[in-house]
Subunit: 264 residues, 2 copies
Amino acid sequence: MKEGNNDCKGLSRRKMLIGTGALAAGAALTQFGGFIKPAMATGGKTEKWPWPYEKLDPAKTAEICYNEWYRVFCGAAVINSVVSQLREKVGEPYTSFPADAFVFLEGGQLGWGTICGSPAGANIVANLIIGPRISGAHEGHLIAADIMQWYSETALPTFTPKHPKISATLPTTTSQSPLCHISVGKWMKEANKALKSPERKDRCARVAASTAYRLVELLNDWKDGKYESTSDFSCAKENGITGQFNCMECHGNDVPEAPSPTKS
Amino acid sequence: MKEGNNDCKGLSRRKMLIGTGALAAGAALTQFGGFIKPAMATGGKTEKWPWPYEKLDPAKTAEICYNEWYRVFCGAAVINSVVSQLREKVGEPYTSFPADAFVFLEGGQLGWGTICGSPAGANIVANLIIGPRISGAHEGHLIAADIMQWYSETALPTFTPKHPKISATLPTTTSQSPLCHISVGKWMKEANKALKSPERKDRCARVAASTAYRLVELLNDWKDGKYESTSDFSCAKENGITGQFNCMECHGNDVPEAPSPTKS
């Protein structure tokens, strides 16, 4: 860690950045060394961006996602909640996108507890529709970064379905991380409910639905030309390594110093 | 943590399991509560599995992946190294799969340091081709779990390209995790090279290539009908929460106890 950067938690990290939107965009685009190449066609007929998008209703999308969770779990539920509607409204290329293949995003990928399937699925959707940053459009990348930060900093779930499978009120928790293990673990501790409990499953279905809701809000803003990036964080720029914003949550006070660029 | 389960590192976790293949399959399929529903058609015309697959050369695939890294980075490089060849050998549905959309997998998703893009990309490919577990085929799910464990336990990179951009020998490191932050961080510490260094970039290109090589070995075995799952780990079954295998690497000795299923 660099001097003055030992507390990378919460608001302090924002002090290192001047402004938000424009700088965040720059950070996102150059965080791995600053080289950006123009898009190259590789023969994929759906690799022309943006894909046609029609605005969706966030609440309807979240309802679809909530119910889809019980069929395909978090990641594929978020993807299908958007893709299934756009198959009806638009058709191709959504009809050809194999959304159900992404069931494996469950449990932080096959139960390994890495990135929660909800942001992982949302990141896929944003980049499918708007395209990768190498295509020249940056908003897909930026919306995904916004989703990662929103997921980490929001008391989840924010969405309650019309006909919940669990009638009791479920607690909300702020994960301070996009990782499944941490997000689910903090909620299980707060709720005192086991992984296999109906309450934990419904919590995760609602978290997926909450994420789909937020994703569609951002996509609708992009469609209306009024999207502005809100993420204000680049671990690579600030700490010289990829990572989340709160180093000390895992490292305690013993945060390793990344090798300096001058040593390279 | 349950009694006797405080050391979940390395070989000790294997002692909790009797056998490997068959039990690993069962673990993977039931780790979120044991309910498996039959596949349901949702209208996607590519959602019929398995996709046609022709065996690929692992070394050739790894070479393609290595070079693709410098265009689309880890996750999309792994995906494209397989998809680009199958577009030529097979055609659809590979031609319609938007592989370049997955650039955002870089840096553990947009630089957030979660799952390394290399296993994330490999997991996508395995499940695209073989299908999700809800389709009735389990090998895509199991190959992805194998990749997660292989990535965590292998001194990487294992692959050296024919014409490397960095001529010096690069050190190898065993991440003990599929997370980008941990994998890259351990390598940077060993090599004393910065994130922006050409050596770190080439190391990640070779890790992607190594992962593509391993993925194709597994897919070829599956095609030949001789694939057997080697992953032997389910954090949900062993510890009551999603996660990786070495709790104490992040938690130290203070590993929280997950709420018991009887409390649900």
